[in-house]
Symmetry: C2
Subunit: 382 residues, 2 copies
DNA sequence: GGTTTTTTTGCACCCGCGTGCAAAACGGAC
DNA sequence: GTCCGTTTTGCACGCGGGTGCAAAAAAACC
């Protein structure tokens, strides 16, 4: 595709592009983009050029009259390079439409600037929000995000292997069911350099878990439920993975028994999926005498809460919160829809994602990675 | 990290791993995995080993007593290699826990086996479904998916540049607002080798668009609406991008006027977002005299339809479908929720994703990439 | 067994860039 | 102009594996 660094080739490229140089603003926009990683009108820049790939640092070096390594430095911040040659290089690069090849860079430096994001659960709309934040914020810090689908639990290790083949800098788990075995596998094999559990507590050693302070959050919810005078809560729990340690559930139950001197009940839905929650709630409430019914369903997250509301409203024909109230957790998309008006707790995902970027950079600013404070959002569902 | 192919090093690795060999089933599982790309219990395999990275083909070659290139062939299907040496190599590889490095392979072969998936819209739950299918199916065909967030339109070109830096084999657009400029930029600059618009029609030349037969689909919806006897439809349109060519909208309007000898009305929501649709419907219907009200809202997709239903039900206090009916398109998550019970059209995304894989492999089996047939799903909303 | 055909194997060279170090250029003081 | 300290620049070598071809080995044939 490209004859390497051959002088005629370079000359050819040069001829090809010099026609564009006369048009004003061309360089500026390119340089601006390179320097700031902001887009002004690169769009225009790109459409004017016909070959952007297969231009290597050698080509640029030849055109700029410097060595390849100087070209290199021009694109690397904090590199020792004189302003003069930096300008020369960037000019040449702009002329040729050169951009460093991240694949080669990754191979050479053993840093792929890629992370893989493992998700095992696409039925929870909250994941959409997490993906939006994570991809956006990680990219501003230079990381690409490989989305890995592990809906089958078996796939998870497979995916991890794949991740290791791609030399990702880290694997981020935002799933709900990952168990010890997977974590151990990933870490034991050093398939990934860093294993990060995001938005969820993990007690696994060597795993970095970034999440909000579930205890404080759940206590706020409990206090709210108590303050509103509810008497018979039923906690709807999600997947029972050992590493998550049932943190939200335990916290709620403990708080309740401390405050009310009586035990609160709970039931395990097992999946963070509105439909499953719907059916579970139908079954559980259906099996109960009316006088044993809860007056509030405290859900481990919004996905469950939504299913619960649907069940209360459509299966039993009752009113939320009048007959049975519901709380959630996450402030997922649709939580604010008029169908749900869910009282819930918002995790500060953006902050958490920023922290994640710091962790990836190796600067772990704080040890308190699981104590982000979010906010209780009170709507009409409870 | 690793001394390259040095004999003492290899011996060291060998020592390190031979202890595991005695345990039964170890090889088998590894070999099985390598050959079938299926996971049996690689999990266990991985956790037993402590170094999986930084084992190169050279190490394996040394251990197996063959050349590095033979090792290579053992991992490449359809390669010419004798069964005997393949076994030798795979045994050695299993012993060392070797896996080929995709980064290096990508650099050498100029195929990264990576695609980037550009999304500009995280508020439509349908995207969740598309991501699930695409990532899962592409992975079975060997591609990793880089998720690129382009919520800011400006970011799209930036993202495309980034994609080119990563040498992705293709960029897949599943956004809603990508306009000509971006497509042209991407193609003009050859920033990406292939530009694929998925789940949506694109008239742009050089762009491969894979989608269902919108015309046939929308006609089915129109016929259903007519058959049910609705008289005053209002079409709720999404973003007005030139390349999408308003296919669904035009189809519906045309069908209606052909069948009913009168024009149907439409209004432009502009975004595929339930909230925006909610407000838009409130505004539009609010400005109309009751006698001019539509009896059915035909929506360009489910995201809009959901917002429309919410507006009808909660803002105007009316019943769906009794007062105003609603149809959608996509059969997105939540379309079957009791809140919506949306009559909609399901696109065959799995089939489409398989077709995408074929396109990536360069075998474009059919020219009819925009004529997948889905199915009309009739629920209670219309 | 000798010869031809086919399969299998080995190898030089390349992919595009990073790293650490040594040489060169620069700049200021005398 | 010389000397010395400080930038700045150039370079050999490496990252791990892919490609096409030629040599070697195996198989087929007479």
């Amino acid at each position: 595709m490209r004859k390497r660094g051959s002088s005629p080739h370079t000359t050819h490229l040069r001829d090809k592009f010099t026609q564009y140089n006369r048009e004003a603003g061309f360089y500026d926009c390119y340089l601006y983009w390179v320097n700031t990683a902001q887009t002004t009108d690169i769009c225009e820049f790109m459409s004017r050029n016909t070959v952007i790939h297969s231009v290597t640092a050698d080509d640029v070096a030849a055109l700029a009259g410097v060595s390849r390594w100087t070209v290199n430095r021009a694109f690397k911040k904090d590199a020792s390079i004189s302003l003069k040659s930096k300008k020369k290089v960037l000019d040449a690069a702009a002329e040729l439409g050169y951009l460093p090849d991240l694949l080669a860079a990754g191979l050479a430096s053993d840093k792929s600037s890629l992370v893989s994001l493992l998700i095992d659960d696409f039925s929870n709309p909250y994941k959409l929000l997490m993906m939006e934040r994570l991809t956006r914020i990680l990219r501003t810090h230079g990381w690409g995000t490989i989305l890995v689908n592990t809906v089958n639990n078996d796939d998870a290790t497979d995916a991890l292997l794949n991740a290791s083949q791609r030399r990702v800098d880290a694997a981020i788990l935002i799933g709900s069911r990952y168990d010890e075995a997977i974590l151990t596998a990933a870490l034991g094999a050093r398939a990934v350099r860093k294993l990060i559990v995001f938005g969820r507590y993990s007690s696994h050693p060597d795993t970095i878990s970034i999440g909000c302070d579930d205890v404080s959050a759940m206590n706020q919810i409990a206090d709210h439920v108590i303050a509103r005078g509810y008497q018979r809560p039923l906690f709807l729990a999600g997947p029972q993975t050992p590493s998550a340690h049932l943190l939200r559930q335990d916290t709620f139950l403990k708080r309740w028994s401390n405050q009310k001197q009586e035990k609160a009940d709970y039931t395990t839905v097992g999946v963070y999926d509105p439909k499953a929650a719907y059916e579970h709630v139908c079954r559980v409430l259906g099996a109960l005498n009316k006088n044993q019914w809860p007056d509030i369903l405290v859900s481990e997250n919004d996905a469950i809460a939504m299913g619960a509301i649907d069940a209360v409203r459509y299966h039993f024909g009752l009113k939320v919160p009048h007959d049975i109230a519901v709380t959630g957790f996450d402030n997922a998309p649709f939580a604010d829809s008029p169908n749900y008006e869910l009282t819930t707790y918002r995790q500060p995902i953006s902050e958490m994602a920023e922290q994640l970027a710091e962790v990836l950079k190796g600067r772990q600013l704080t040890q308190k990675l699981n104590h982000f404070k979010g906010e209780l959002i009170i709507r009409t569902s409870a």
